[in-house]
Amino acid sequence: MESAAIGAPPVAQRRWTRFARAQRLTRFMVYLVIVAAIVASLRTIEVIPEFLYDAPEQMVDLFSRMWPVDWSHYPETVHEALIETINIASMGTLLALVLALPVGVLAAHNLVPFTPLNLFAKLILVSSRSVNSLVWALLFVGIFGPGALAGTLAIAFRSIGFVGKLFGEALEEAAPGPIEALTATGAPWWSRMNYGYWPQVKPAFWSIALFRWDINVRESAVLGLVGAGGIGMALDSALNLFQWDRVALILFAILIVVIIAEVVVTQVRKRMI
């Protein structure tokens, strides 16, 4: 039987492979690199065998010291520290929202069609994201001294990258039609932003804000380990004094706060839809 397509090999000789040769080659190379990276890492990582064998015993020891949990410690320090943690998370998020808006706008090419500015804004966003909130906290403790101010700024500066990136992407995905219409009426740039883009990205913006607040509650809890306020400071002192029952209390408190934050966020999300 002749094959229907001119120029195609007869049916019996056709092979089905999932990917074309160039694609297979590329995938293979990626696999190779991944495997090499894993092998190299395994080789060079320091594992002290004694510690490894010791580990289960150590963990059992740890948990036995954590129980019973020192509940009485709560009212004195933990409660206030928890409030401070939530405040750090909330204020940090608010500050980040304010700062991230202009940066996100600058990063969106359809709003600011000036590539050097876009790249500069994206650089700010990447740097903000690459540095951990804990490291930001270190920096700010160095500048402003220990306390919640450093923590708030650390959360804010870390979150700018997150909010700015997602917000910039929401802006780039906005429908161009209404913007075209507003341009055609002779509206100036700011009015185009306000009437054309903002109504479209508003839901995304609040969603991003909520999302980041949730993450920030978790982040704020540990900033105190470097002195930036919140419950982390209580955790730090308890750890330093090897008061594992208090550590257990603090960890439990953090868990509860994180769960509450998640519930709040889920409820608000439902109302927003």
Partner: protein
Amino acid sequence: MNPAAPAAGPLPDPFPRRIWPRVMWVALSVYVIYACAQMDISWERLQIGLANAAKFFSRLFPPNFSREDLLVKGLLESLEIAVLSTTLGITLALPIGLAAARNLMPPWVSWPARAIIVMARSFHPVIVAILFVKAVGFGALAGVLALTVASVGFIGKLFTEAIEEISLKQVEAVRATGAPFASVLAYGVMPQVFSRFIGFGTYQLDSNLRNSTMVGIVGAGGIGGTLFAAFQRFDYDFVCAILLSIIGLIMVGEVLATAVRAIFIDNATLGDLFRKRSKIPRERVLEDD
């Protein structure tokens, strides 16, 4: 209500005043004032701090790259931690995530698996790192284990969600051919979730890279330890060098992650990657930290 316009005289309000936004703004302002008071934030402290900041920044620059071997050693260790924890995390997250899928597994399998994933997500990697340092001692192993837990939590959750969203019809179709369970997984389930899985995996690698620069602060290995030590010694120009290297490393990581996604999800070849960027479609957004 028909707000038609009279020829003259008062007009109906063109913008109905909504009360909720007003209330929200007021509540927000009140909260800000309260929170600043509670946290002891005031203009004076900011001003003092800003003066400090100027001094601080002058000591940060120019960055001091002279202690390269220390720097490189730390960065490499962070890289190793990221690679190993992502690998181990993915390896563990696959079966656990699969087990947690309610549409494929019976409850006595899915509930424990879901519990594991929730526990893994609940604690900040730094806290988990502290616990592991106590268990296995200082060093990169603690870091790897801590970030593995974080990875299992993240990838496991998203993987389970992806599986629970698949179209069961495709699974049924494969099952109807009489294929064994493993093949049903391979041909019915995997194709639908694979591309998202690549996305999760590459994102988690970046995330672990970011976190691996931090767990060192509590002794779990990586450049974080170097950074912390330099900080405490007031070697701020070295701190600056470390920070710049971290930023650079993570930028490289993000570029590589995008490339891997393009290769596996969009079937790009090396040539495509280097040609005009327009060939690589926009990646789907995924941020969790």
